[in-house]
């Protein structure tokens, strides 16, 4: 793993510091991807040297950030039980859960395109799960039998990305967003076909 949980139980304050830095890094970097370690440290309220103590290099920090976000992403997906719940339910649950993560970890999730093997594995896994879910949705009659599932998945990802830009505050707003997103995915904006 990128951050071996088996390594060592960090001291309480250290744990706090690390989290604070990751949070600050997300905030600062999402506003300006070229932000310096200095700016990140300042946003975290720690000295620049402390950041370097916890993360060997800038790359290491970003990798850790991506790994952290990816872990939350994975949990968000798994919590929706996408393999066993009915397709319509799973689709909605996954969407709402993932939106919550994406909203708060926009930069980190984008940076997840790094070549960290563990991060890549998780994303590939989630993607495969998404494909299975879409296939189940089609078999259940939720999607048209002739739907291009790969294009559908890409559109779905794109919609999530776009929807996450709204950054709603409340849980209810996220749910409403997920509902609207799924509705758009399924029916688009045109009038119901009349034939």
């Amino acid at each position: 793993m990128a951050t071996p949980a088996s390594a060592k139980p960090l001291r309480a304050d250290t744990e706090r510091t690390v989290r604070t830095i990751l949070g600050a890094a997300e905030r600062v970097l999402s506003a300006n991807p070229a932000a310096t370690m200095e700016q990140i440290a300042e946003a975290a309220g720690v000295a620049r040297t402390t950041v370097h103590r916890r993360f060997a290099s800038r790359d290491a920090l970003i990798t850790a950030l991506a790994a952290w976000a990816t872990r939350q992403f994975q949990e968000a997906v798994e919590a929706a039980r996408p393999e066993t719940a009915p397709p319509a339910v799973a689709l909605y649950q996954v969407t709402a859960n993932v939106l919550r993560v994406k909203i708060g970890w926009r930069f980190a999730m984008d940076a997840a395109a790094t070549d960290d093997p563990e991060v890549a594995r998780v994303h590939a896994e989630v993607r495969a799960g998404c494909e299975r879910l879409f296939a189940r949705a089609r078999d259940a009659g939720l999607l048209r039998p002739d739907a291009d599932l790969d294009w559908a998945r890409r559109v779905y990802y794109a919609l999530i990305y776009e929807a996450a830009a709204e950054a709603p505050a409340t849980d209810a707003a996220v749910d409403a967003l997920a509902t609207r997103l799924i509705d758009t995915l399924l029916h688009g904006f045109g009038r119901p076909a009349a034939p």
Copy 2:
């Protein structure tokens, strides 16, 4: 204007050089947004100093790149006559035309979020035109009467962004992509509603 056409008629070779650099910058920067001037110069087949002679600074280069892409973008939109053609036709034409530009100038179009006033003006103008087009489409019965036009526009932009990632080679492929995109925008992936 960002690049005053009124400035001076560049010498033929200079014109060529500038274009080559812009093209190389697009290619290199879309692969790695943090690429150096050195890498861009190398890709363009010129000396680094030449790049600096034509573009005072890195920022200036990126601004010029954005301006260049924005100009093409505007032309692509206007060529579709989005204000006068029937909504369905205009929507298709605009999509196909814009896709062609977006495919070749991905980085430049993204960088267009800079605060160059002229670039911002064009994008705001295009966006307003898009909103008018969507309103016309709704009035013409192409979109549901209760469609959220702002969300629809955002989805449309997101779909174009995603579709442009395919980077098809032939004109026919772009047309097919545009068709599929519009179909998705209008009808989604679900089965036609039965009620």
